[in-house]
Symmetry: D2
Subunit: 310 residues, 4 copies
């Protein structure tokens, strides 16, 4: 059936293919220049630090079995206080291992996570993704991702605890949140969009209601992110984009536009409430943010423990 | 047979049990205060960034099967360009998962990784580590680990490409490297000790020779780290401490002293050569370093992608 | 609080500790002698074969996350039609791997799966189970498990499609089913007890209702199995024994009596309906049964694909 | 470059595509009829049982990292004597899980494991193997595999402990071994070809020398297996077929001929020495053999614990 013309026009208007050369594999992360990192460091004032990651464990995991292989982290023991010399007075070691979906918790979608029309970002063929993983645009290409973070608290800007399920965040919403933040989003920034949806997780039975319906970014927010040349964008939701979808004739449009057209790495399940409360307290919505992925070779995504320092 | 008196005396002299209260689970990481993080941010000058992590993959993994369960990352595909709507013109997704030993590559040893005499750090019973993991001192307690990093390039300070296998790094060596670095290590700093050992990995057959013999920290470096109150320390070796051991009557003494007595989180397999070359070039050996672990609940350790920004 | 006297008396009356020597690790499986296997082979008449195993897959898995680490089989691809010589006209190979709880589907509980009062079967200390697994009574000790199988169709004997949730199968029930089967259970036989509970799985939402409430074996069936000296016993339920329990003051009594006291290996989630229909058709309830576990060294249990030949 | 004409001619001459209908997914296993199973049962005389499987464990595993994802079984603990009621006098449970390559130890190659020229068995397109596994010819289609087993002890027939590395087993060798066995291989039999190669495993450093060079089946044995219409064939080697290969211009020819053309399921790393000694003792080389795979849905292969009863 193909994609509707409105989508294709939008895609063409935001596409970054070739912008950083034909061999580029990291897209908008190219915008994180040394100068941007210096700006990031300069944004540190109080020295308070925030971890924006969900716990990694089976019991606390947020996956409910909807996607094959995207399992919660199962961490098990290989050794428990094993006396290396056979003497418990001397050194004993404990060791563990984990199996997990790389996108099961707080994570980045790598650029190869999604394709459409036979392509991933920069026009690479979709079939560069094989059983060996993504030979192009693997998450390990990112190396580090340290920049200035800006919290765009759309929920607070709209005066609600959390946006309704199905609420489509638009460019106007991002403008309003930017105004609330009293900071100008600049090229290379890491933008964190808060919807408040994660609070659903902490309600009774919330794990099954957290994924959907959900507020989220929409096709109408994509041009804003492109115009501001953000390096990466993350939210406090599981689906990242609004669900149910805005249109019946296109599925996961924001995933396609961000990952495939713009080369914009996107993050999900970022824990933003504690940081947001602090930003509301002191009125400062910018900070140093390190959200470097783990360097899984040829991976489609990566868990991340984003560390914000205000 | 128990531990020799010299070890026990040293242990008593560096022990931090109770220093941060009876309920403390993170030890010297308490030294990373907001002020320390501000100092860290202030150390950024050029904005150049360095990833200090080894690649995470089966083919590039450094484990050779010596320890049960400490397997190299095996990342496999759960979905490859799966057309969600059954139409390849529309969105197709790829997904992967991984199984890995948590301490298989560049990683932090958590404080519960080692016990002796029935105790882990802060005097907690060793049997707080069970099949459910470390109910005390799990790596998730750390939350974030962002501080000033200081590279102590012991190899360069001694005028060699790499220290010999079996070379025991002492406090005097750290003094010499600090002098080379023209920076004073201060409380809360993250200290990276470079031995040059990782270059073995890149030699033919190097994977089997990288673990041992190896240079590394020794009992004679422990008082230095205690006196300087570093928050955490990492090296470019697999065993962390010198091997063969300094004494026949005590095995892994530095592990015991750091993890159990001092509550000093220690890192292994940090990739330091590129960073060291840059430090040598511009003579600046301090930088912002985010080495936050992944928040695996009750884990004994964690992979880490340390991001240094100079 | 300890265990009630009635339980302890029953335990003493069925206990097999020492019966096959102080070093025995397989319990009643000792009863499968060469003569028993010849009897098994002699029971083959039609040559029709039945697999009694549930499918091993993530989508079809019956686990719902109640027990840590007991995950459904996640099978993923390591290679897909990889052309070894780089030429698709020549040989291409595909390869997969799996992660699974060893007791997630149709499986045997090994004798070390359960302990009470500090002991496992034969009086071995419970702490012979460590992070390295069961150094005593590991499932690999079984080697093969081929014997005569006898289907005791308790549901049919009681004239119902399936027994009610909470129905406690007794020795009288087994007598009635044996009478229906017109076969005498003999020492060394593998007894399959059909309750009909597995049909719940195929109902809408059945996966969550299958575990409990459930019919199952009860303390009142234990003496029967002991008196008949069966080699192993399996059912078509997840919990194996009746749930809710018969008494408030003892939990999983049948597990304790079978595994710890009798050394009776017990199986769960055996698929019995097709076999039962065939037995009802021809009136023959005995067959050759190979239910050899997979030889996981020191494992607590094992998946099994029981093959019955009538 | 394609395949040489000699191979293509041989392939055409043994091909079973369509023989059991256009929808067949199990190939020669169709030959295991009820009558064959009755013959199998009738071959039981002494009742002695043999497990033909290697142990499943990390320490004892035979994989050395040559193939991605084909890892030795890593079995770890999820629970160790966990007191369900919080009371160690009452029931305590231990639980484990495993991650393993499905073809890492004693296993069957499923028919979809290999393709060439764009096809798997029965002419199904090779791309029926996807990230979701083998939608055609998955190992779960086999259900049960119980038949008469016949040991063809080629090593003994040639008067050696083990065949030399690189020795290509031919149809004449199989004739000689059949003569030694004094049994006629019949349609539906499971044939076990003993080379003696597994004894290499038990030598010092044997794990690395076991895979190759190795004796094994060759193109010159394929017509014999086709003519005798065996249901499945297994050996005591890792590569199954002779290595180094017989010809430079075709790689893994026997894999292609068996799996793709004949639909002949083939087994590797079968432990045959104890069984062979028994056969030599009593002169009886036939037995009941259950080698049913584990029913992994859509899997490319399966571990197996073959149980032979003489």
């Amino acid at each position: 059936m193909g994609l509707p013309p409105e989508f294709l026009e939008l895609a063409a208007s935001v596409r970054n293919w070739g912008r950083w050369g034909p061999d580029d594999e990291i897209g908008t992360i190219n915008l994180v220049t040394p100068e941007v990192r210096r700006r990031a460091a300069a944004s540190v004032r109080t020295g308070h630090a925030f971890s924006l990651a969900l716990p990694l464990s089976e019991a606390e995991g947020i996956q409910t079995g909807l996607l094959p292989g995207r399992i919660n982290p199962v961490r098990t023991m290989a050794q428990i206080n094993e006396p290396i010399l056979g003497d418990r007075e001397q050194v004993c070691t404990s060791d563990d291992l984990v199996v997990m979906g790389l996108q099961c918790a707080t994570h980045w979608d790598g650029l190869a996570h999604v394709s459409y029309g036979g392509h991933i970002y920069n026009g690479y063929p979709a079939d560069t993704v094989t059983a060996a993983g993504a030979s192009r645009c693997g998450i390990h290409r990112v190396r580090t991702l340290v920049s200035r973070g800006v919290l765009l608290d759309v929920a607070r800007a709209r005066g609600v605890e959390r946006l309704d399920g199905g609420y489509a965040v638009t460019g106007d919403d991002l403008d309003a949140a930017e105004e609330l933040a009293r900071v100008q989003v600049q090229p290379g920034d890491l933008v964190l969009v808060r919807t408040g949806q994660m609070s659903v997780l902490h309600e009774r039975g919330g794990r099954s209601r957290y994924p959907a319906p959900t507020p989220g970014l929409s096709m109408r927010s994509v041009p804003w992110l492109r115009a501001h040349d953000v390096a990466a964008v993350a939210t406090d939701t599981l689906t990242f984009e609004v669900y149910p979808m805005e249109r019946d004739d296109v599925f996961l449009p924001v995933h396609m536009l961000h990952l495939v057209d713009m080369g914009l790495t996107q993050g999900q399940n970022f824990v933003l409430d504690e940081l947001a409360a602090d930003c509301d307290d002191d009125g400062v919505y910018e900070f140093l943010l390190d959200a470097s992925p783990q360097p899984f070779t040829n991976a489609l995504g990566s868990p991340v423990n984003p560390a914000a320092v205000k």
